[in-house]
Symmetry: C2
Subunit: 451 residues, 2 copies
């Protein structure tokens, strides 16, 4: 297909052409932009290389086998199907031509735009040590979550097998690197499933004897929260048996052990919750980006000199009152909706309104019945413990996309917490336990390895 055809398609045949808005990324920012644009007189194409939107704040519950992937994810085209002016394209953006206002796609096609909403988010960064990645997976996608689930559950299976076959097992130790919300939630949840849920399933090991170590380079966990809540979170983690080590830097991550300076810790599973890097698409705009690859934007969410491009969510670096807006769900949703408002202003010939992040607060759970909550709206409060956890529960259920998911998740949680029983504890993918070094099949040939 040549350029001519492409242009014909994208620019329509008649004189009454509607602006084409291309949204790249189906996360919180992209979906919120699309839903707001669905009500405007524009044609929208949402491009994502995945077919589903993931409710990232609950990913850790998939990683720890409380919820199933389908409970926190939904196909993007299903979410948006009520908007007849929106089409969804599963493709990957390989380049951005800001001069020609078009995108180069992995399929080879070009996609023209009048407005571009760039919202491809962030991924984990290993701070220059990408070789640590296979030894310490991070948590950004459903695949990451099932991989972590696989590793954690296999660690318990291996220890049980070692007890049966050898009469002993090495310490069942889980190390989480990074004391932000994800690290804190993973640490609390691992401690919980070990003590509460797995205890009744094993004959020879006591999962409650497992150790969870949370390592943070800074001076406190949850650095983005007020100090009093960091202290409360540490206290609650310790109550769950989690060892919290702040001011500690990891210097090497190998399969089965980590180094912190001269100190070595062996671990059954190491998880990475430390660094964040913005999506590589930010660099394709041809503007200056921050150290972590985010795109600085003005109050109209534009990168420098690009009025028709809006960068939203974790990919954007937006400063307000001297601080960068954090890379969490709330600002992403607000930016996505604001991008639609900016386009609506252009269509109506009105001046563009400036973006201002409205901070309703922030929360992190610590295990099953505790959390910390920094509430900014509708009133100001700093809560810890059970009250904060109930607040977390209500807010997360309320924001989950799709009624069925809400109901399903409530049922799952109730079922899991009352019966300590769960079907989500499936090990899928590679089933090879450590120590299955020399597998042979009936024919005597060694099998191909899964990884």
């Amino acid at each position: 297909m040549g350029e001519a055809n492409e242009n014909a398609r994208w620019q329509g045949g008649t004189g009454t052409r509607r602006p084409r808005v291309v949204i790249v990324g189906g996360g919180f920012a992209g979906i919120n932009a699309a839903e707001a644009l669905g009500k405007l007189s524009v044609d929208v194409t949402l491009v994502d290389r995945r077919n589903h939107h993931t409710f990232q704040p609950l990913l850790y519950q998939v990683a720890l086998a409380v919820l199933s992937p389908a409970q926190i994810a939904q196909p993007i085209r299903t979410i948006l199907r009520r908007y007849s002016n929106i089409e969804v394209l599963m493709d990957e953006v390989m380049g951005i031509d800001t001069g020609g206002r078009s995108l180069a796609l992995a399929s080879g096609a070009r996609l023209g735009y009048d407005y571009l909403v760039l919202a491809t988010g962030a991924t984990h960064s290993y701070l220059g040590h990408d070789e640590w990645k296979p030894n310490a997976p991070g948590l950004k996608t459903l695949e990451d979550a099932t991989e972590i689930r696989r590793r954690v559950l296999l660690a318990f299976e291996l220890a049980e097998r070692q007890m049966v076959e050898q009469g002993w097992h090495p310490p069942l130790r889980f190390v989480i690197i990074g004391g932000g919300p994800t690290g804190v939630e993973l640490a609390g949840a691992i401690s919980d499933i070990a003590r509460l849920f797995l205890r009744r399933d094993f004959r020879h090991i006591d999962p409650a004897e497992s150790e969870v170590i949370l390592i943070e380079g800074g001076s406190r966990v949850l650095a983005s929260f007020p100090e009093e809540l960091s202290a409360l979170a540490e206290k609650q983690l310790r109550k769950l048996g989690v060892v919290v080590r702040t001011g500690t830097h990891v210097t090497n991550v190998e399969a089965g052990w980590i180094m912190m300076g001269e100190e070595r810790i062996d671990a059954a599973v190491v998880l990475w919750a430390a660094g964040v890097a913005a999506s590589p698409l930010g660099r394709m705009l041809g503007v200056e980006v921050t150290k972590r690859g985010a795109v600085p934007v003005n109050a109209e969410l534009n990168p420098q000199g690009l009025r028709e491009v809006f960068v939203c969510g974790d990919l954007a670096h937006f400063e307000q009152d001297g601080h960068a807006v954090p890379g969490v769900a709330q600002p992403a949703m607000q930016m996505g909706r604001h991008a639609a408002r900016l386009i609506a202003a252009d269509l109506a010939g009105r001046p563009r309104p400036g973006f201002r992040y409205f901070d309703k607060g922030d929360m992190a759970t610590i295990g099953r019945l505790a959390a910390v909550a920094k509430i900014e709206w509708p009133f100001k409060a700093r809560w810890g413990g059970f009250v904060a956890w109930i607040t977390w529960l209500v807010v997360h259920i309320y924001f989950l996309i799709g009624f069925r998911n809400r109901l399903g998740i409530l049922t799952s949680w109730a079922w899991t917490y009352f019966t300590f029983s769960d079907s989500a504890r499936l090990i899928t993918g590679d089933q090879t336990l450590p120590g299955w070094q020399k597998k042979i099949d009936a024919s005597g040939k060694p099998p191909s390895t899964g990884e």
Copy 2:
């Protein structure tokens, strides 16, 4: 660990040693054997290389995105945790020493037994053409099901993308090779999801225009059913738009097309539901096996000359009234329970009862609201259409392990069928669409491929 220690563990220290029963395989036969042995005065070890039991009759619904993996699978140790005399070991059997009564495990350990229940089932066979496997996945495990789901959903995504980018797409054709129950159920279900569920999600393709072709080498589909039901099934399939080609042999399967003699058919997705091969463990017993690798057993479920070994389920070849008992769930469950009965007879010093398969009937669904049912008990009947489908529904819900799963599946079905909306349509794993041949990242380097 030396042999001496192993024996100490397995043979106990006292004179009142209870017999040790080792069950290999956590499918229908293994789980039913374990549950019956849980009530006897024996020590049981169930070994499986996976951590979960899968309700295989509903796997095709996971493959076609109606149900989620966690709804039809459950960890084996959770199913069996109420029996304190049963331990579950996640390990793989690499060899059987029938003389020394012990198993060699992938971990390197040896596991002694007094009684061995071998129930490792069957897998698909490509009839000597293993090179077809990557081009036509079969359906035996949860991973198979999510792989088929991935391929089917990606085919629709690709066609939509081709419409957007090129204005046309090649025929959206699905070929299923093998007209047994799995093939018939897959064909009916693909036709259903295309016509009913996906239709509202796409803007540019009409999923209802997809073609489903079911290829069977024999003269009729569902050869294990009475002829009248085969004819009825074909009629119902045709009503769903499925092209049924009997007496047709596939001679080659490549990526994107198949050959049947001189005839070539291009296909977006090819699925394999033709051959079945027994697990390789049957060959480790040192007895004669059938062509498909099954182990002939007598009425006490013993392979020739091995009174303390019981082979159950799809791995067993048991003849009754001149016919081999079919490799489906019912006989597997009955054999598993019977193995426990044989051990109980030994313990009580009673003569061993002979096994007899009690055939309650067989069923296969054809899409959403039709099925064929051959009912043998509690009355004899041959049903087709909606009545058979309701019967199928009741029987499958009744036999699903775990109340929560039953409820969850009923809710999912009701939700899916009334709203045509579903969250289970997630594409996970490799997200690469055909045609993304040359992917580059921001740095200009080609990425590693997912497969």
